[in-house]
Symmetry: C2
Subunit: 251 residues, 2 copies
DNA sequence: GGGCTGATTTGATCTGAATCAATGCCTTTT
DNA sequence: AAAAGGCATTGATTCAGATCAAATCAGCCC
């Protein structure tokens, strides 16, 4: 743990640059997740402008690509994989402020510097947009700025819900809320809820400890609220009871 | 307490409408806080457009003007007074997500409905802008939308800091952080820190109880970190020690 | 298959803050 | 001026979750 912490603090963010900027519009034209991301507001006619701005990046599991406090030079759009966003205290205490996945746009919560760090949970692919270029795109395409404002609004709503959870919910209510949120985020809600992150990450997101997260999941299994599957998945069995618990409505 | 809670839940938001929309640009031209608010991006030449959109509103202490879950019809700009923004659970547990004061623009954290409630701490004056009209202004004045995106970004940064506080800080660290934040918000940082809200509100903001907030302030007084003044003010005595405590850096 | 490492679960004990209770203080009302 | 009401402080006790410790599990590598 101490070795990992040291390594994480001193290591420069490492990632593979695939090929630098792709100057051909085909890059963005063939993007599989364009429809669900902020890029969808740019028409096919103008797609070259977008493509010349985007730099595709691969980040290996456990590697970070945004360092808290660093100068805010870029925006990022996640094209595949899972990312944890976090803030840390000097003694290593950590609060994960969000989990981001395919289609999430990162970089709105900044002033001059990044207010958070970002680290890949599994293998992650990103498009990186430099802030000056993005600024120019926003000026040229007002729809883009409008879309970013909508993204920011959604993030603010989510942040307020997280504050309520952290400030006032019990451990059980927090874990229940977390499972339901993960389910909503999944591409196919009918399947098992994918939980690619560790118990430690969940704890850092919920303001709890690893042991309490584990204990609570075990309690839910015993109460037949969920079934804990293999390969980092959870199946929700008693959906309404879980929702009642998450809403703070249990008797 | 229960009587107040009941009243607060059932009462329709009450406020005084001063005179309806002011159709004369003089209204916004003479606004004392325009320079520090989002309205500053609108030039004097175009001020009539702004004035015809703004509805001045007076809200008495204790009254709410935004109801969580209601249809999001308006934005608000605070022109004087203090406001608490909050989310509530069914059993009355409450999390204050922010304190807003002069110059704060409210209404960005919404989807179709308001995700939070807002209530006046003291006498509050507001300008209200209907969302359709504001939408039109944003289209006509791209600077405005850009400014709102910057406001949203700042709010996201603040939200992340609040998540860190709620998720990982001790009670002492929380109260210290709160005092420093209030000091930064005050118009004149050289004077005593104004705390117009009750201990209960502080507790709901910090994820603590009334007693813990009071105990912690008393401890700080005993340790000569602060002096607790009359009329809802606190004077910070040992600034650096308080900053160290708030940063989670105390030994 | 065996060994190793990191993650997860489980058990026992501890603790920071919550809860409950009472008192004090300040402001408003009569 | 006295009473009432609301807020703040203080003391005693309790408790939800943290901390500490150990056992088990899962995945990877040889």
């Amino acid at each position: 743990m101490s070795d990992q912490t040291t390594c994480r603090r001193d290591a420069r963010p490492r990632r593979l640059i695939l090929a630098g900027a792709h100057r051909q519009p085909g890059y963005c034209l063939t993007c599989g997740i364009r429809a669900q991301s902020v890029c969808s507001v740019i028409d096919d006619d103008d797609i070259a402008r977008l493509a010349e701005t985007a730099v595709e990046t691969l980040v290996l599991p456990g590697r970070s690509f945004i360092e808290e406090g660093a100068a805010a030079t870029d925006f990022y759009n996640i094209t595949s994989g899972s990312v944890k966003l976090f803030k840390a205290l000097p003694d290593g205490r950590r609060q994960i402020t969000g989990f981001a996945t395919t289609g999430h746009f990162l970089g709105l919560a900044v002033s001059d510097q990044y207010a958070f760090g970002a680290e890949a949970i599994d293998t992650v692919r990103l498009c990186r947009f430099s802030r000056p270029r993005m600024r120019q795109l926003m000026d040229d395409f007002p729809r883009l700025e409008r879309r970013l404002l909508a993204e920011a609004s959604n993030e603010l709503v989510a942040a307020q819900n997280q504050m309520l959870l952290l400030g006032r919910k019990t451990a059980r209510e927090r874990v229940a809320s977390f499972l339901l949120e993960r389910m909503r985020e999944a591409q196919d809600p009918a399947e098992d809820v994918p939980l690619p992150m560790t118990r430690s990450d969940m704890a850092d997101y919920l303001g709890l400890t690893i042991e309490t997260v584990s204990r609570t999941l075990s309690w839910m299994r015993t109460e037949r609220l969920v079934a804990i599957g293999k390969g980092h998945t959870v199946r929700i069995i008693a959906m309404e009871r879980l929702q009642t618990l998450a809403a703070g409505d249990a008797a």
